[in-house]
């Protein structure tokens, strides 16, 4: 499950997650799995838990940060709500360690297929849409930087 250990593409990782979620035949199992995923999220350092890295429009607090290493983008995040943290972990699992251009272009429709559809409305107060937007924005910003060989960015 550790994205750093695999060279799988965004699509492959997404398909793997869809498969894992399909294993549960009820919503409760899916939520428990989501919460469990949240525990494996690479945590953003406390000094970045500031407004600059906060995703707006969430009922809980959510922070996400990206950095580039060897041309790939890596994410860290956190949330004070466990379900939201699980949602961040889903995105990070699929997107971390990928080329920024691939992140920016990723359709991410796997979210539709994992049985958590109710979280996908852009008006829902978990900010999933906001997270995706922010993560793609980071990737776009890093795509230029990464090509120039810089190692980190905020």
């Amino acid at each position: 499950m550790n994205p750093l250990e695999t060279q799988a593409t965004i699509d492959q990782r997404a398909a793997e997650l869809v498969e894992n979620f399909a294993f549960f035949d009820d919503w409760m199992g899916r939520y428990e799995y989501l919460i469990e995923l949240g525990q494996s999220l690479p945590l953003i350092e406390d000094e970045y838990k500031s407004d600059a890295f906060k995703i707006k429009g969430c009922q809980s607090q959510v922070w996400v940060r990206a950095e580039a290493r060897e041309g790939l983008v890596y994410y860290k995040g956190d949330s004070d709500a466990m379900i939201t943290k699980g949602l961040v972990a889903l995105l990070v699992h699929v997107l971390s360690g990928q080329p920024p251009e691939a992140v920016a272009a990723a359709p991410l429709d796997f979210l539709d297929d994992i049985g958590l559809k109710e979280h996908l409305s852009p008006t829902r107060k978990n900010g999933l849409a906001g997270m995706v937007k922010q993560m793609k924005r980071f990737a776009l910003a890093l795509s230029g930087v990464a090509q120039n060989g810089a190692t980190t960015s905020n």
Binding site: W27, Q59, S60, A81, M82, I83, T84, N126
Partner: protein
């Protein structure tokens, strides 16, 4: 007296009442809906839905304008509703009931008219810590425009206003006390009769935000002797987008108009305009006619219901739910005021309210989570928010049982 000897226990048939509310009879995620988000907005009885529909099907035209039959019919329906709403809150005259979009609009109206006319630099407006944003921000904006300032009544650990502190805030600088009748986040029923008497003793008028009161009790504005009373249709089982400002006539006559436009004028020329009489002076433009008509039907429904019996039933369900919730263990009640109406605000251990609300939602239980538009209150309590189960007279013990069962699941899932 015979009345004191007989236990007065009104009869309230909750199943019969529930049958009047079609929205209650549906499933979400395959579960029968338990609707406990009434403080955000209440469901509507069929009589109100039918009345609005009939208005649009047969009676609609613009009001106060046409000489033709339909326009007269629409005007009669709209103004007849105003008269019945006025009677329901025991306003002395329908002229004193101004239609607004809701409570927020009513408070903004008072801030923009009474406020601009009476509040100057150095003056003070007294609010409480538990106010909804809609009873804070209009006053803040007024203060910014005039140089006045807000004075905030603190609350105690139970969620009651600190009454001594309130009294000490009153001074010759106080131009208005603006207070919620019932708190949307804590359920506290404020001692409004005392507040009004003590403010009046110092010559200070009082505005009450009644949005959360009318769904739970009948209000008599004359008995209260309140200066301004604001409420929303949708929270008292009526349509959205309609509400009222009741005010004493002396205030309404002295207040300058609010928005300019059609209907609020008497004569207009490019040299100047003379304004219409009460309440039209404050009602510019084509109003929410269907909303007014629907709110009229709402008070008819409530009048027929016996609100005292309804409130008694609701209080029993709320007490039952509170006790059963506490049995779950590791539950923190937020708001334990001496007198409460409709609301149980709580936390499940350290579980984030958003997590709890999400799981309850999947179980078919509609609650509100978050700050409930009372961020200063949440800052005071040091909480990111709460889970709020808010009840109406159509809720049952079974609803309370489902809530408690759901909270047990939340507790288990998040290890609280």
């Amino acid at each position: 007296m015979a009345e004191t000897l007989t236990a007065t226990r009104a009869v309230f048939d909750v199943e019969k009442v529930r049958a009047d509310f079609p929205a209650l009879h549906q499933e979400v995620y395959g579960q029968p809906l338990v609707y406990l988000d009434n403080a955000a907005s209440a469901q509507k009885p069929q009589a109100v839905i039918d009345r609005v529909r009939r208005y649009y099907e047969r009676e609609h035209s613009n009001v106060h304008r046409g000489v033709h039959y339909l326009s007269q019919q629409a005007t009669d329906a709209y103004e007849g509703a105003r008269a019945r709403i006025a009677k329901y809150i025991n306003a002395p005259d329908a002229r004193q009931v101004v239609y607004t979009r809701g409570t927020t609009d009513a408070i903004n109206l008072v801030a923009a008219t009474f406020g601009r006319a009476n509040v100057r630099a150095g003056d003070e407006i007294v609010l409480s810590t538990m106010e909804h944003h809609s009873n804070i921000v209009p006053w803040q904006m007024l203060c910014e425009a005039t140089g006045a300032r807000l004075r905030i009544i603190p609350i105690d650990a139970h969620g009651d206003i600190a009454y001594g502190a309130f009294l000490s805030l009153l001074s010759e600088r106080t131009k208005l006390v603006a207070l919620c009748h019932v708190s949307n986040a804590l359920g506290t029923v404020n001692p409004v009769a005392d507040v009004i008497a003590d403010a009046h003793a110092r010559g200070t008028p009082v505005l009450l935000d009644g949005a959360q009161a009318l769904p739970h009790m009948q209000v008599d504005v004359q008995a209260l002797d309140v200066d301004f009373y604001c409420f929303s249709g949708h929270k008292m089982y009526g349509p959205t987008g309609i509400g009222c400002l009741y005010a004493k006539e002396e205030h309404l006559e002295a207040m300058p108009p609010y928005q300019g436009g059609g209907d609020m004028i008497e004569t207009v020329s490019f040299k100047g305009t003379t304004f219409n009489t009460l309440p039209y002076k404050f009602e510019a433009g084509t109003p929410n006619i269907a909303g007014g008509v629907g709110l009229g039907a709402t008070v008819d429904y409530l009048r027929a219901l016996d609100m005292r019996a309804a409130a008694q039933h609701e209080a029993e369900v709320v007490n039952y739910a509170t006790e059963r919730l506490l049995d779950v263990g590791n539950i923190r009640l937020v708001g334990t005021a001496a007198e409460k109406a409709g609301v149980i605000s709580f936390l499940v251990g350290d579980v984030h309210p958003y997590d709890a609300g999400t799981i309850l939602d999947r179980l078919g239980i509609a609650v509100r989570t978050g700050h409930h538009c009372t961020q200063p209150l949440m800052q005071h309590l040091g909480l990111p928010g709460t889970v709020r189960a808010s009840f109406a007279f159509y809720n049952t013990r079974e609803d309370a049982d489902r809530l408690v069962e759901g909270v047990r699941k939340v507790k288990k899932m998040f290890g609280a």
